[in-house]
Symmetry: C2
Subunit: 646 residues, 2 copies
Amino acid sequence: MFKVTFKFESGEGVEAFAASGENLLEVARKTNVAIDAPCSGNAACGKCRVKLLSGALDSQKTRHISDEEYASGWRLACVSKITEDVEIMVPDIASAYKSRMKAADLSSPQEIKIFEDAKRDLQEAGLELKNSLSLIPVEMTAPTLDDTMPDVERLERAVAAATGIKRVRIPYSVLKELPDKLRQYEFQVQCVVRCTSRDVFVYDIYGKEETVRAGGLVVDIGTTTVSALIIDMLNGDILAKATTGNGQIRYGADVINRIIESRKPGGQKKLQDAVIKETINPLIHTMCRTSGLKTSQIYRMSVGANTTMNHLFTGINAEPLRTEPYIPAFFKTNAVFANDLGIDINPDAHIIIAPNVGSYVGGDITAGTLTSMIWNKPELSVFIDLGTNGEIVFGNQDFLMSCACSAGPAFEGGDISCGMRATDGAIEACTIDPVTMEPTFHVIGEEGQKPVGLCGSGIIDVISELFRCNMISPKGKFIREGKRIRHDKYGMGSYVLAFQEDAGSVKDVEINEVDIDNFIRAKGAIFSGIQTLISSLDFDVSMVDNVYVAGGIGSGINMKNAVGIGMLPDIPLEKFHYIGNSSLSGSYAMLLSAEAERKVYELARSITYVELSTTPGYMDEFVAACFIPHTNTALFPSVTQVEISG
Amino acid sequence: MFKVTFKFESGEGVEAFAASGENLLEVARKTNVAIDAPCSGNAACGKCRVKLLSGALDSQKTRHISDEEYASGWRLACVSKITEDVEIMVPDIASAYKSRMKAADLSSPQEIKIFEDAKRDLQEAGLELKNSLSLIPVEMTAPTLDDTMPDVERLERAVAAATGIKRVRIPYSVLKELPDKLRQYEFQVQCVVRCTSRDVFVYDIYGKEETVRAGGLVVDIGTTTVSALIIDMLNGDILAKATTGNGQIRYGADVINRIIESRKPGGQKKLQDAVIKETINPLIHTMCRTSGLKTSQIYRMSVGANTTMNHLFTGINAEPLRTEPYIPAFFKTNAVFANDLGIDINPDAHIIIAPNVGSYVGGDITAGTLTSMIWNKPELSVFIDLGTNGEIVFGNQDFLMSCACSAGPAFEGGDISCGMRATDGAIEACTIDPVTMEPTFHVIGEEGQKPVGLCGSGIIDVISELFRCNMISPKGKFIREGKRIRHDKYGMGSYVLAFQEDAGSVKDVEINEVDIDNFIRAKGAIFSGIQTLISSLDFDVSMVDNVYVAGGIGSGINMKNAVGIGMLPDIPLEKFHYIGNSSLSGSYAMLLSAEAERKVYELARSITYVELSTTPGYMDEFVAACFIPHTNTALFPSVTQVEISG
């Protein structure tokens, strides 16, 4: 056994022991050291860079590490084997992708508006913003020698009288503390209850005079990013919001790699732990601190997630999703409780999982479809969710069609050498001067925050600007020279947005031809998906009245630039609407409103799933879309380039 | 810290560390060394005898240890403090009371008859022997590219079709394994389901060809003894039976001491662990080995226990039971599942707790009342359950009255110096020659088993015989001399049933005047309870047609001797019936038959509880009954004594 010491830029360190020949990335995973490997450790993405401080590793050279870098100790963890004691520096950049948890500033009107809009839209559509949870006063007379009714029967009778519902269910969690609480509060209590047509379920007991908040937890489990809210179930207020990376990221960037990892021995448990114990539970604790709620005061949870995430979250074998005939374990399940999964909230909390529609169109889309409101309009609309997968729903109040395109993690900064999630240090918007080729960009974070990498919206801007400035060809190859443009020894060109001395990173923040190529394939997948779905019904994009774009790709998306790179169809810009994280807002709606919850189940049943891979013409559309903006420039009349006088 | 080494007669040993001055019994409890202390460590019962092998203890002398014994190292653990390193021998006799787990011989017709009788009686009373659990074949077509229905929806549809019940509930435990099991069995399965009028709950999935047994667990939680069955829910067969001491015994012999212990810090959890982790779970594992069932194949559980045991078993504060106005947490609860309590069976198994009637008449009595069948007869009957508490139900098909008498643990061998449970080594029956005063007895166990102590039925016989042979006075004092009768230096008389050389014990097996006094008070409590209950309605014992005696007091009870000591009323012997452990047989019936379960709830509602302590005349009755057979000998015309020619 050899000793492996991981050191962080923060100065902290972790020690582990490894057998001779063991893979460094595996050792890091076992030790819970966050080294990202979006490609699941296949030396493809070059993200798992670490620096050797002492000792040696049996490590291949790859195109991701230059000779100078190799000489100064840089290695890819995924191709390094342990042969002796080593000290390893894990740069923050390597874990920026799985970034720090971020509690959102709820005073920001932008953050709140999206949920206020969702509430208004649902109400206008006639859905009542009322859920089954309520707080009721329950006053009882204390027992005496002449009135010896037991506590349970006394409470049942009083709750039945207060609610008018005869069947009262007192779960073990409440039963267990009943004699203590009733006596502590002298039989003058309030109960958090859930009333249905069948029965009333007692979740909790408080004193008559206590100020009670009944919390609900909303979680959007993205393949890359997990976002959550704690809401007040009684009035719909958002009490806390937070976001973090999905802890599963170290098992691969996309759902296919995750499924493969989950099938290794113990993998299902590992993947489930990564998203629950390492991701969701810490989010809950952070938000409970912010909002002053106890975890046991969260009585209901809703989840918006793609089909694979729903399987890995519930710890269910996801292999049938990726092998013919591609069968999910469930579209809808009603039987999962917090206690089953070890979610740190009230053990009896029901987990409402937004229903799946197919193996690649999941609850994030059905929840998102709800808040896109496309189901409530006579006009044709397109709803696009730009996540690690891109999903598209097309239709109106009469029909809904959906498909999924395997865009990869590029929109969330994956598969891009300097890509990162939309968090502090991410370039989220950019323009380039066509003459000087100097960039001007906006970085997420406080005043003076240095750029660390690029998030999705930033990448769209940069590529669109590079093309507009005639710096890259329609195939994404650099065709101008300049101090920010360089080529490595293999001939691969790149554009430097910030040199290391100006960057908050250990290397230059740049975008290279491989990144651009990855992004072109991602945007090509989306565009060809839209085209195929619409034309499968003999419609045309010109007939589309609204395009709703959702996803955590930045605080917003420059629609002009998204059209400019040929990701979105070239229709008037006013038809585009960025609706934020619709999986989160849709799951929020499901928790807040019983009618919204029912509506999502109804939508899920009515959405027709189209499997693109078996749809004739899709592959041709995809290949044609893998240019900037498209091989058929007639489709993008508004996209123009600056003339550069040679 | 000092080292305390506990050595057992078996040769095994356990080490512990203790602070100076720490109580030896407490150290043993913490170390999980079974030293019985029925009196909860108050130097009252003399059961916690241990022998010092090396070192010294700061230990009081008590009447329970003779000078010779003290000199040779015998001490009471409860009055001994640690002052240095010690080696302690824990005699088997000290743990005989909390005896070895005993798997019953199910080939014994006696063991089976009691349950067969219960089944026959219930059927004759018109109760159908059918429960809600069943095994149904569920055959599905495997999914294809043209039939992509998910697993959950596919199973729900097939189960709904098979049962005719629309609402199908698939719990997380089944959901979690669903894709694997359906594929393993190629979608040809059988399901263990529970069908109610509202829905069908899927407990488990098996292959079409598998032989499936759906188990049920029946547990009688006595204060002293815990007995259990595993039954086949599909046909009612008893698959295994086992009995052991209640692990809570080390926290006191009676319910009051247990409640007091449970209110100490961490006590509620300790008492719950003692009965579940140390008692019930080991019983389950033993019985699963015997029957070849997996623990997860036990889908439902029923519990017969007194009100205090029900509280301590469920981990609920029992203090309100013993303080005015004496309020239980529940009569009936429907909301407890195996998973809530950590019972090692299927996590979704519902725990059916036979309902309580009052703080001192619990589910053991309501379940027992069911199988006593007194509720189904026009004639008046008395049902008596002789446990650590004695409970009495009196009535017929028109009314039922009940009361509880605090008999103490004497009937199960507690509070008696050589008392023990009815297990190997217990003298269960005895006669004494009036002339030679030599005893003839029957010992439980294999041929040649030496006597270790006395169980309840043995004590009744011995005391009845001592009185019949004119060896003791009506007050229980020795009035004859002989080689088996001796008096200690305090003048206390005793009768030796087996001298040490003939006994399977470290000392003589004897009964002394304190034992007899304890037993007289126990039998007095029972008799006065019966008298008070019957006369409270202006009835008379002569009007009673049947007396059903239940309890784990031996393989049977000699009714003539029980009348002879004045425990049972002096009515014709043919009116007495020993019905075994009716709490167990009643709980068995509740599990086996949904109608029997409903009947028990109905009985519980109809039983009127009489609080003896506040009933006028009870104390006088009790005092009058504390003689052999009674101060009023006219009540016992059949009881005669042998004339001894002086």
